[in-house]
């Protein structure tokens, strides 16, 4: 029962054929992206295959030429599916009682696609690691970095931070007072610091050495090699290793610059009271972890309010749009091997579309049940008659 009045292009864009083709592409991408995780790690694989417009697959190399096959990335395929679905809604769906289930199911899918876009575009995540009795009001990204520049002069202190989009070779970072600017000469994805024997590239005690990035991006130590200028005058060239500030004075102003994993402030603070870990008797298999924390924040009247909360595996804390999950832990041991201090790591997530998958998936499943259940009964009934 195809609508013959439709122009060919719209007919194709809303066709089952396009659905099948894009789903097949999605399957191929998923398979490649899954297998390649073994070689390039989850983060890279996500970036290359799933969060991309297209990617190339090397087929073979011959005579110095590389033959590759370009394939659409996750974005393209999902976008095509989205368009396909919307057009199908407008032009192809038959709005009858019989197809009610199908419609519900596909509305759910549409919401799922929108929700995942929102999550991708607007969510931030990271971790909060602290020892017992420590307090935190920020969390740290696993993969994003930032350069923080602080100026201290007689007038006071000013700080500016430059996030990921500035971290590439040739980027220029302008200080708040605009007196100086920093030019990035090299960005190290992963590096280690070694002693600077001959004062080769800078006057610092150490230089950075590039090392192969780890498959687990969060394990890398980033760094930059940067030149600091005043207008066109070179002030100095510096290596900056993750978390180690570079300090210098210029024209009576003290500057401090460092690169670090990006920190996101949280509008309240958590203090780790106690971390507990239980093992199954006689084994090293963990049975249960939990962190007891105090949440303190200013309420509307400006008063400080505090409450104690238990965060454990499968039982996160949700507060003001942030969610804290028990993720891992660390322990500091003394020489005899006794644990003297526990560090707890909470994974933190802020996702405006947090509830979307819940509703959309509910719709999809409901739709499928509405659609298929009567079919099944009809089938069974017909069989019974025979």
């Amino acid at each position: 029962m195809k609508n013959k009045k439709l122009p060919k292009s719209i007919d194709f864009l809303s066709s089952h054929g396009l659905t099948v083709i894009s789903l097949l592409f999605l399957m191929v991408i998923t398979i490649i992206g899954t297998i390649d995780q073994k070689y390039i790690g989850l983060y890279q694989s996500q970036k290359i295959y799933f969060e991309s417009i297209y990617f190339n697959i090397t087929l073979f190399k011959a005579g110095g030429y590389v033959f590759f096959l370009p394939l659409p990335g996750g974005y393209t395929v999902l976008a095509v599916l989205f368009v396909n679905l919307i057009l199908a809604f407008v032009f192809k769906f038959r709005w009858r009682l019989r197809t009610f289930g199908v419609v519900v199911c596909h509305i759910g899918l549409l919401l799922l696609l929108i929700g995942s876009y929102l999550t991708y575009a607007y969510s931030v995540n990271g971790h909060m690691t602290f020892a017992e009795q420590e307090k935190r009001a920020y969390f740290v990204s696993y993969t994003d970095n930032e350069i923080v520049l602080t100026e201290t002069s007689a007038e006071g202190e000013e700080t500016k931070s430059f996030a990921n989009e500035y971290l590439f070779k040739g980027a220029t970072l302008l200080a708040p007072s605009k007196k100086i600017h920093v030019e990035i000469a090299y960005f190290f994805e992963n590096c280690d610091a070694i002693r600077n024997k001959d004062n080769l590239f800078s006057n610092q005690e150490y230089v950075l050495r590039k090392i192969a990035p780890s498959l687990e991006t969060e394990m890398n130590s980033v760094g930059v090699y940067a030149s600091v200028f005043n207008g066109k005058n070179l002030i100095g060239r510096y290596y900056m290793y993750q978390g180690v500030p570079v300090d210098f004075n210029y024209q009576g102003v003290h500057y401090s610059i460092y690169i670090q994993r990006r920190k996101f402030p949280v509008p309240f603070s958590l203090k780790l009271l106690k971390f507990t870990r239980e093992l199954y008797p006689g084994t090293q298999t963990p049975k249960h972890y939990e962190s007891k924390v105090t949440l303190s924040e200013k309420d509307r009247s400006g008063q400080n309010s505090e409450r104690e909360i238990l965060i454990s595996m499968n039982r996160p804390l949700r507060h003001k749009g942030y969610t804290f999950y028990q993720s891992s832990f660390n322990q500091e041991k003394d020489q005899a091997g006794n644990t003297i201090k526990y560090y707890s790591t909470l994974a933190v997530m802020k996702n405006p579309a947090e509830e979307w998958p819940y509703f959309s998936c509910l719709l999809v499943v409901l739709g499928m049940i509405i659609h298929f259940t009567p079919k099944m009964f009809r089938f069974a009934k017909r069989q019974g008659k025979k």
Binding site: L23, G282, K287, Y358, V364, F379, Q383
Partner: protein, 737 residues
């Protein structure tokens, strides 16, 4: 006329199945419980198997404990000695209590390079060696293992993994032999002999100096003196240590502090030097007084304010009258009790963990009131029985140990242990394999056209019996583990098989037109999956405890269960897809029948899609709850999505008219590959968060499976092409062409 004929058939067939059931290849399944115990007839093996012990974080019967150990060492749960099979429990009992298993060939080496390296005789690429043989090469084994251990776990070669495994197993075995080594004959202890003579003479002096000493001490001195040092050499470590200990006590009592101190020093150095070598903790079988702890904790919690639960009243009476003499609890009001200070102290001091006999032996040396000595004396009785061939001593000892453990443990634990014993004994899943296969065979024969009805009913009967066994087995596991049906890879296979058979039976009921095709599908997929599960059952403790992230019965029962149902439904669809293709080879297949089968493929696939999608989302929700993201492109998640994607592709392609019954059937066959990849294949990558389901060495099998299925699909396509060319009624287009 017909009735009598069919009755004869049934009788004939029943005989045949019995024969088949016996002939069936059963090597991969352990059948130790069906072989009678050999060497020591008359030993109460049933009681021994039911003794609760602790291993890998849970309380299990001695039988399971023995199986776990033996499969870990030898890859099988029984030992062949002189051509006859010995059960794991018997092997373990002989190892621990008699130490007579040194020449049993149990150490499995699967790599010829390992054999070469440790210089043992090469017979086959995969062979088992006895401890007697390996004993001489221990230094070599440990040396290689230490080298291999320095390499990171993921980077180790097969050789390195094997040598580490072997070294661990040898260590494990040594420590098993040493479980009760304090009753072993003591070897000569250099440097103590002269001092021991001093001890004896000094004790004699004490006896003369104190004519009024208590009879208890007099007796001890007597017993020590009658064992002069030369005789002591033949005495067990345990008795020697006791003597030293009591001598020290007597010297301390009668103010000979120097001597007492020296004895203490010697005991310490003995513990440090000689005992450390013999000390073993691998056989943790002396329980904490769990019942008492539970009871005291309940009383403490109530604090004399709440009324104790009724069933606690009963426990209370037991403890007050028999065990604690009312000193630890006082009555506040009717049905209300409170812990006394002493009671609090008891609760604090009591050992809350399971202990090995060695530990109990050392800690009860100085504390004769410790009730755990009862357990030791029962163990001693078994030990004595084995070395003196006294069956009655062995049996009494076994009963003593079992009673002691049951007295210490709560009723819930002992009930679970005894359930596990019967789970092990009946080995229901083994019978499932046999019965599913029998059912499939009879169904196949029935298709040949001879005695159709009776054969069909025999097949159905077997399937139903197998399904009941299967259900009962799963239920038992659920009760024992207190978990939903699936929490490990092994269980996922067992459960998927169960679901598959269930789906097939429902279809058989509704879709009679398809003529026992669903029944056959159920039986054959039940058989194949359970046979695979049989391999996994050998993988150590298949009821092992769960890592923390999985510890959520809610998500286990929703996400994991629906995921497995989804896998299963897709596999069943694939199986029917096979049949759809194969039935076109049969001369007597008509179009109508084929259409019915095609509908079955479609229906199962729809069901599979819903459930797999539901499972995938629930997984996303769980991930959101515990890791903080709904979707993270983790391999296992991707695998689940692939299944959903593939079924959705098939459904839409069918809807768009691109494929019909043939395409759907072949697509469902391809779905089997997708399921296998999602279920096992992603584990090969060894990356991602779902790394609690990892297995190794699957690659070849998966590759063979994939190639075979692809060939089948190609074959199906050729067949379709031929059929279409012949008398094409498939598509309108083809009809006009």
């Amino acid at each position: 006329m017909k009735e009598t004929k069919s009755l004869t058939y049934i009788y004939f067939l029943l005989c045949m199945c019995m024969i088949i059931a016996v002939i069936l290849p059963t090597q991969q399944w352990d059948d130790t419980d069906r072989t009678p115990a050999l060497a020591k007839k008359g030993i109460d093996w049933d009681n021994l198997k039911a003794i609760p012990v602790q291993k890998e974080g849970r309380v299990m019967p001695f039988d399971s404990f023995a199986r776990v150990l033996l499969t870990q060492i030898s890859g099988k749960s029984s030992v062949k000695v002189n051509g006859k099979k010995i059960s794991a429990a018997q092997w373990l009992a002989e190892t621990i209590f008699a130490g007579t298993t040194e020449d049993y060939k149990i150490f499995l080496i699967e790599n010829p390079r390992v054999m070469e390296a440790i210089k043992v005789e090469y017979k086959a690429d995969r062979d088992r060696y006895s401890y007697k043989v390996l004993k001489t090469q221990i230094d070599l084994i440990n040396q290689y293992a230490a080298q291999a251990a320095r390499v990171e776990q993921e980077k180790r070669s097969i050789f390195q993994n094997q040598i580490i495994h072997l070294s661990n197993n040898v260590f494990q075995y040594q420590s098993l032999i040493n479980s009760l080594s304090f009753w072993k004959k003591r070897r000569d202890l250099a440097g103590i002999d002269t001092f021991y003579t001093t001890i004896v003479s000094e004790l004699n002096a004490v006896r003369v100096e104190n004519p009024n000493m208590s009879p208890k001490y007099r007796q001890i001195i007597q017993s020590i003196i009658t064992y002069p040092y030369e005789k002591q050499v033949g005495v067990s470590v345990a008795r020697f240590m006791h003597h030293l200990y009591f001598a020290g006590e007597i010297f301390a009592k009668f103010n000979k502090m120097k001597l007492s101190q020296k004895i203490m020093d010697i005991t310490k150095s003995l513990e440090n030097k000689n005992i450390q070598k013999m000390y073993s903790e691998s056989f943790t079988m002396v329980p904490p007084p769990q019942r008492l702890i539970n009871f005291l904790e309940t009383v403490k919690k109530s604090g004399g304010e709440d009324e104790l639960p009724r069933d606690m009243e009963k426990e209370f009476k037991i403890y007050i009258s028999n065990y604690l003499n009312g000193k630890v609890i006082k009555k506040v009001a009717k049905h209300k009790y409170k812990l006394t200070q002493q009671g609090e102290k008891v609760l604090e001091d009591v050992d809350q963990e399971w202990k090995a006999p060695w530990y109990v032996f050392l800690s009860t040396l100085s504390n004769p009131d410790d009730t755990r000595r009862d357990s030791l004396s029962s163990l001693n009785m078994i030990h004595y029985g084995f070395s003196n061939n006294s069956i009655s001593d062995i049996n009494n000892g076994i009963k003593g140990v079992k009673d002691f453990n049951n007295k210490m443990l709560s009723d819930k634990t002992t009930k679970k242990v005894s359930l596990e014993v019967s789970y092990n004994r009946y080995d229901l899943f083994f019978w499932c394999v046999v019965l599913y296969l029998a059912s499939a065979i009879f169904c196949l024969i029935s298709w040949l056209g001879w005695a159709k009805r009776p054969l069909f009913f025999v097949s159905l009967f077997f399937l139903i019996v197998a399904f009941i066994c299967h259900s009962w087995g799963i239920t038992l596991r659920m009760i024992i583990k207190e978990r939903p049906p699936v929490s490990t890879l092994y269980e996922s296979i067992v459960f998927a098989s169960w679901v598959g058979v269930g789906i097939a039976m429902i279809m058989e009921y509704f879709s009679r037109a398809s003529k026992s095709i669903s029944l056959f599908t159920g039986a054959i997929s039940g058989y194949i999956l359970m046979a695979i599960a049989g391999k996994y059952a050998m993988d150590g403790d298949n009821m092992a405890v769960l890592v923390a992230v999985l510890d959520s019965n809610f998500w286990l029962s929703t996400h994991v269960t629906s995921m497995v149902i989804g896998y299963s439904a897709c596999l069943v669809a694939g199986a029917i897809g096979h049949i759809y293709v194969l039935m076109h080879l049969m001369p007597n297949t008509n179009q109508k029948q084929a259409k019915e089968v095609g509908k079955l493929v479609y229906g199962t696939l729809c069901f599979g899609t819903i459930i797999a999608f539901l499972g995938t989302i629930l997984g996303g929700l769980w991930a959101d709850q515990s890791w903080g993201r709904f979707w993270g492109w983790d391999p296992k998640e991707n695998g689940a999505m692939l299944i959903v994607l593939w079924s959705v592709i098939l459904l839409h392609a069918r809807l768009g008219g691109y494929i019909r019954d043939w395409g759907l059937a072949l697509g469902a066959v391809f779905g089997n590959i997708v399921v296998a990849a999602a279920w096992w294949g992603v584990n090969l990558l060894s990356v991602g968060l779902h790394n609690y389901g990892f297995t190794q060495g699957l690659f070849n099998k998966l590759a063979i499976f994939t190639v075979a299925e692809l060939l089948f699909i190609a074959f199906g396509m050729v067949l379709w092409y031929k059929k279409q060319g012949g008398k094409s009624t498939k598509t309108p287009k083809a009809a006009t062409a």
